[in-house]
Subunit: 869 residues, 2 copies
């Protein structure tokens, strides 16, 4: 287990560094996990046995033991009966609201403390600076350290991981209690430091963690909570709750979480999200009322724009300009963020140094940012004293800051005066704020602490909108409207539009508009906001991926990219252009030797089961682990020992009675009963944890094989676990075969035909036709969360498409390179005999096949290639 | 064609009557359509030939003909280049906004005219009554008549049909120009009559029609518009546009259309909906500004509730009560609506009478309703004078109508005084209004004119909310808040909550909340509204289907019902419990006789193609039409004539040269070239219309067969078209065979082996495993829009599940009858050998199969049944 441990630690290093790269091979990882799980299970079983015996002792002492059992059963029934969706959702909403509120409270206290320190040291500017800078550095360092030690997976936003998980890939370590603790504590500290970091993304993750833990907790009471597809549905609802209780924006939360995490959304999950998010937002706001922060339930950043004439039609071009500029800005932000990560990764010396001094990078970044925002220093030009919340409130202010460019008319209410500098006018302050915050936010979000980018971007957008609004107000001091009445321009409205547009551009979502309505409590600017958000999205989507997709690419998470909009060539690329023709397969009547060769030849996770190498009729698919188990059984030590015993017995018999014809059958019989004990025993103990990387629809990859089973031939297949070599136990007698004998015996065994009994076969793997378009393939893959699909032609296996090929094809077809694109007229040539929409194949090939069946031949990959053209 | 015509008329009768029952067998319908299409195509071809010849003439005269071709090509290129999504969406939005605005204008004029007539005849109450009653009766009768004559499909809401279409079933006649005209004109008249009818549902249909027609129009320029999956995506966007430009509510429109029409929603279509709906809503509101109706863009039913303290926390129970009561009310409305339809249908005498006098029912209903709302009569107690719009505006009014129950303090502004009756107080007026409008709306929506139920329900909900609000205001005259400040209760806020809750309950949607925000321009009541809507949904969904699902059931549209929430038994039912084991199949090496028998045996649309009756390995699926075409070719007149000619030739040859061994091969060869001409010729003419009922993913079912091809054996397969019998043309010479000779020849032909060349086979029909749960099956069916799926066990076909079985199983498992439910412990028993989540089958059966292969046997359905238990 020592080697295992270092492995894991190396993995952790890999993952904490800025954006931990997701480089582990799925297969390797799964195998390691499976090995660990086996150990754990054994451990657990021994514990449970111990507790059971303890219980038995108690029962013996027991007063009214039966009664207690009865009560327990009743309780169980009750819990399982009311253990329905809505109870789960209410619990989730409640917990998340409490978490959100408590966290907000802590963050507020932290920020207050910094202000208090800063204020108390006004006499000495150096001490003041020290306090201003040290406080966030300490908090961020603690956050980074804590996150690193407890659960390095908690760093970053969490939305990319949720997107991957909802796509169907279980990233187990992202949904543990440790991660929950690390995320909550780390996030509180990170936000308490006053850095330009957001709460939204991590909150989506926290809510999902909460849902996963709650599910696990509820599953103790049994019932429906063990169903995996249900758990995935609940995770989707949890994402909505995360956004909902972060901003008290239930509708926006539901929509944002859908846009950000899903590719296809089941409308029947819709109400779940609404229900939980509404409940959560409600409790979140009620807590504020009870805490006397508010008089009643209102929006978080309430605005008070006039209702009767929110804006003039002629102001719309300005809103459109905000939208387009935000689109470019959003794309730039994503690019900048990625650039920083890649720059630090590429610089090997920096990288090595930072790897060693893990907390140096966060501390340095924090130091830089907090130095620049030091209010008596450069911070005075960019309202550095204001926290994120305060600056947002001031930016959404009702009043005009600068009428006709004269800053003197400024209203000194609340914190707005921070924006006014004696030497500079408001415009310059805003420009400085926008520019500085822009790169600061992009930089700060690369720190390996739990943090999101939504809120910083939101504030920058608001500032940009405010800038445009103030300019408009200065340009048209009496408003634009021509018909008598004077309606002044409301720069706060522009700020709202800008906030929605920029955050929409960075995240590639339209629902930021709804979040903005719920945050401000006003919907009067609906059309400008919608127009700006859509324009920003159009621009940003054509330039850069969303921040979440960008992180997915940086982290190399196993995710299928979206099809861009309007790429018509996707309709022209066919599956046959991108599929892998060299499919790993086993035949129904193959020998163990062929099986062994197939396993040795590659690292495929699943093998196709075909009728025969000639017909290639696809019968199903088998997982690698199943085949390995088959081979292990055949060559395993147990079977060898049995063989020895049988041989000894028969020799004895032969000595005694000189008759032993039936032995072979008998051995066979015994083996087949032995086999059934290999299948995992169904106990009522809590379910084993799932292997790390596994599609939920697949059956568990627990390999009923351990290294001590492996003989010579198997040595190549399984990586040896040196730590466990010594602890062999020998229940079946002495293994007195020599190496040569073993090899001989194994050779003999390998020539037997494979018995596929008790081997789990997926009899209906997903099949595509070679004419299926890339567009449709993408749809099917993302709809069903597939990992790979076989390409068949009238029952005959001709290729396989996996996520990898698909990803390559999509990315290639966007950039028009990296993929062998079908010649442009190929589909026209084909469609001479069949209409272009059909994906049917002619029966020709089947006939060819049937005629060729008489001539046995090797399956040659280029063979079917030629035929399909 | 005479018979065909009456058939169609009968169908139309069937469809116009209240809720036309959708009884046509899919197969029959498709065949009729195909026959009609063939005729149409022939007609079109002759026209196109004529125009071509005309063009040729012009070219001969042509001055600079080449130049013109060049320009045309450039034009084409330009159009196809810019023929991208966003242009289509902008066009769609623009058209729909214009249509919506023009319709609103016409409706307003109609309602004005009625008021003017009513006002002008104030001297004579009888004449006044006559005018009040006649006007709507005439309009509704005209609307019903017009709809009936032009396109009976236009009657009703249209949302149920759109739901079905987006599910994947093409109801062709619902997306034609005729339907568009009928819907727009009929809807304008129906709404102009002042009946309690809505605009929303039909508008969804109108927008979809618009999108379909626009697609068809754009496809003239070629390009991407011919792609069917793209068109479906566009229809989804169109639904959003429909709601969006009806209420100027883009966000609510998108969400409502998703909830109402989709089961699974592709997030990548999201922006399409937002884009188009925003553009449409924008143009719609801009038109109002340009028309000087409004000063700037604002909400349709703008409210002016106070922002700083919209409601007190202690008012929440009242809002919850509104929600729950609305839930019951909504369920009652759906039930009442269905009851009325079913009552009229059941009463055979009434039904017959109404069938004859088609316009009587609408006229009678209108008469009844308008008599009861006659303002000097009973209408005075229920504000009968107000139009729907006016009553909604008054209901959402800011002020309190009745403080402490004293109606005297009433503010006489706008139309609010209509609610005040000298003898009655406001509460009684409101109660009467609610009760009367409730059944009136349920009755009115059964009239066969284009109409929706959303708006009437919305108004009733607002009235109910107002009632509760006024009661609360009377109960707490000084507001509830305890801390010094007096905040009066705002009954208008209650009205908003009630409107959202009741309409949400009737349609089973949560997004009515968003629509309400956008309609009123205020979001301050977000939490009460969300809570009420969710409660209303919870209650209504547990009692009744939504109004749209109810209509789907009444009309018997081919739609898959939703899984209810929290029905855990869905996870326990397996596909093997519901599948049909007697699958219609053809084998690869079958004879034409077997093919004929298979075709005769049932009405299956598709047949499975298996390797052989023994192995039952599924190779693909073939459509009925393809098999029919095969049979037609083999037994067709053309082939017979050829045979005759060949025979004559060979006889001649034999006479001449006494040598004719090679003939048989030659005939065969000639036939196979002949066959290729059977495949539909690929011309550049506009694409033929799709057959009436066809899944879009399937290839066209055009049967290259006409009645005169059919011999004796085919007579049974194709229904004879007596009208076309006489016009046979005989290009191949005389058909001088006697009936006996033909029969003999056919018998001979039937024994030949089927040549599946040139027959279109779907090589990858969707396959399920017998262990797949009902829940998963439902998901897959609705995700992929499947019609049927084969159930296989390791490549071997063992059953088939179609939409019908699934529907039965879902409805059965809800009511716990009608479906053979698997014994409760069956899955436990199975899971002894495999974990309960896996759906893998053991290889046993395959081994059984292989051993049994040596003994040829009939496929016996109960055989595999026994084995699987």
């Amino acid at each position: 287990m020592a080697g295992d441990g270092t492995d894991q630690r190396a993995l952790q290093y890999e993952q904490t560094l800025m954006y931990g790269r997701y480089t582990q091979e799925l297969g390797v990882y799964a195998r390691e996990e499976a090995a660990r799980l086996r150990e754990e299970r054994g451990f657990k079983r021994s514990i449970s046995e111990r507790t059971r015996s303890l219980e038995l002792l108690q029962y013996d002492q027991g007063r009214c033991a039966k009664c207690r059992i009865c009560i327990l059963q009743c309780q169980k029934l009750l819990i399982s009966r009311i253990g329905e969706d809505w109870i789960f959702l209410i619990l989730l909403g409640l917990v998340m609201a409490l978490v959100s509120w408590a966290m907000d409270f802590c963050i507020a206290v932290c920020l207050q403390a910094q202000k208090w320190m800063y204020g108390g040291l006004e006499s000495n500017i150096f001490l003041q600076y020290l306090a201003w800078v040290t406080y966030p550095v300490v908090l961020i360092s603690f956050s980074a350290g804590f996150t690193h030690i407890v659960a390095p997976q908690a760093a970053g936003s969490g939305i990319p991981e949720m997107k991957t998980i909802l796509r169907g890939v279980v990233l187990k370590e992202y949904l543990t209690l440790k991660t929950f603790v690390a995320k909550v504590v780390g996030l509180t500290c990170a936000l308490g430091s006053g850095m330009p970091l957001g709460k939204e993304g991590p909150f989506v993750h926290v809510a999902s963690l909460c849902a996963a833990l709650l599910s696990k907790f509820m599953s103790l009471f049994g019932g429906i909570y063990e169903n995996k597809s249900r758990n995935i549905e609940m995770l989707a609802a949890a994402c909505a709750v995360g956004v909902g209780c972060c901003f008290a924006a239930p509708i926006g939360g539901v929509l944002f979480s859908i846009e950000v995490t899903s590719t296809f959304f089941a409308v029947r999950n819709y109400w779940r999200g609404f229900f939980a998010a509404t409940f959560s937002a409600f409790i979140f706001r009620v807590l504020a009322v009870w805490n006397r922060d508010e008089e009643t339930i209102t929006a978080l950043f309430k605005t008070r724009f006039r209702l009767d004439f929110p804006f003039d039609l002629q102001e719309l071009p300005a809103f459109a300009v905000i939208g387009i500029a935000s689109g470019f800005g959003g794309a730039l932000f994503v690019y900048l963020n990625r650039l920083i990560v890649q720059f630090i990764r590429k610089q090997k010396t920096i990288n090595k140094f930072l790897m060693k001094k893990r907390l140096l990078y966060p501390a340095l970044v924090t130091l830089l940012i907090s130095t620049l925002t030091f209010p008596p220093g450069f911070g005075q030009f960019m309202a550095g004293k204001l926290t994120q919340k305060e600056s947002l409130v001031t930016l959404l202010d009702n009043r005009t800051w600068a009428k006709q460019g004269i800053a003197e008319e400024f209203d000194y209410i609340g914190h707005s005066h921070e924006w006014k500098h004696p030497q500079l006018n408001v415009f310059i302050t805003l420009v400085i704020f926008i520019v500085m915050k822009f790169w600061m936010s992009a930089l700060a979000t690369t720190i390996p602490v739990p943090c999101g980018a939504f809120m910083p971007v939101f504030v920058i957008g608001a500032a940009f909108g405010r800038l445009v609004g103030e300019s408009m107000a200065a340009w048209f001091p009496d408003g634009i409207h021509s018909d008598g009445m004077i309606y002044h321009i409301v720069p706060g409205g522009y700020a709202v539009v800008g906030a929605a547009a920029l955050s929409g551009a960075v995240t590639h979502t339209v629902s930021t508009a709804v979040i903005v309505f719920e945050l401000t409590g006003q919907i009067s600017h609906i059309l400008p906001i919608m127009i700006a958000v859509i324009l920003a999205n159009a621009v940003a989507q054509s330039l850069q991926p969303s921040i979440y997709d960008s992180i997915i690419r940086i982290k190399k998470l196993p995710y299928l990219p979206e099809l861009g909009w309007g790429h018509q060539e996707k309709y022209n690329i066919r599956v046959e252009d991108i599929m892998v023709r060299d499919v790993g397969y086993v035949t129904l009547n193959c020998t163990y030797r062929q099986l062994h060769d197939a396993l040795m030849s590659g690292h495929l996770k699943t093998f196709a089961l075909v009728e025969s190498a000639e017909s290639m009729i696809l019968l199903g698919s088998i997982e690698r682990s199943q085949l390995q188990a088959l081979l292990t059984q055949q060559l395993g030590r147990q079977r060898r020992l049995e063989f020895l015993r049988e041989r000894a017995l028969s020799e004895k018999k032969q000595v005694n009675e000189d008759g032993g014809q039936k032995i072979n059958q008998e051995v066979r019989f015994q083996i087949s009963t032995e086999e059934s004990s290999f299948s995992p025993p169904r106990t009522l103990s809590p379910k084993p944890l799932k292997p790390a990387l596994k599609r939920p629809s697949e059956r568990s990859t627990e390999i009923p094989t351990s290294p001590q089973d492996s003989g010579i031939a198997l040595k190549n297949l399984f990586c040896a676990h040196p730590g466990t070599e010594g602890m062999e136990e020998e229940p079946y007698g002495e293994d007195d075969m020599t190496m040569r004998e073993i090899a001989e015996w194994e050779e003999q065994q390998l020539d037997e035909q494979v018995n596929f009994n008790n081997c789990k076969i997926d009899p209906a793997p997903f099949q595509l036709v070679e004419r299926t378009s890339l567009h449709k393939t993408h749809t099917i893959f993302s709809l069903l969360g597939l990992d790979h699909a076989y390409v068949t032609s009238i029952g005959r296996l001709i290729g396989v498409v996996s996520l990898k090929e698909l990803r390559k094809a999509i990315e290639g077809s966007v950039t028009v390179k990296g993929v062998k694109v079908r010649p442009p007229l190929a589909s026209f040539r084909d469609s001479g005999t069949s209409s272009s929409e059909t994906e049917a194949t002619e029966i020709h090939k089947l006939w060819d096949l049937h005629t060729s069946l008489s001539i046995p031949r090797e399956h040659h990959p280029s063979d079917s290639d030629d035929k399909s053209h």
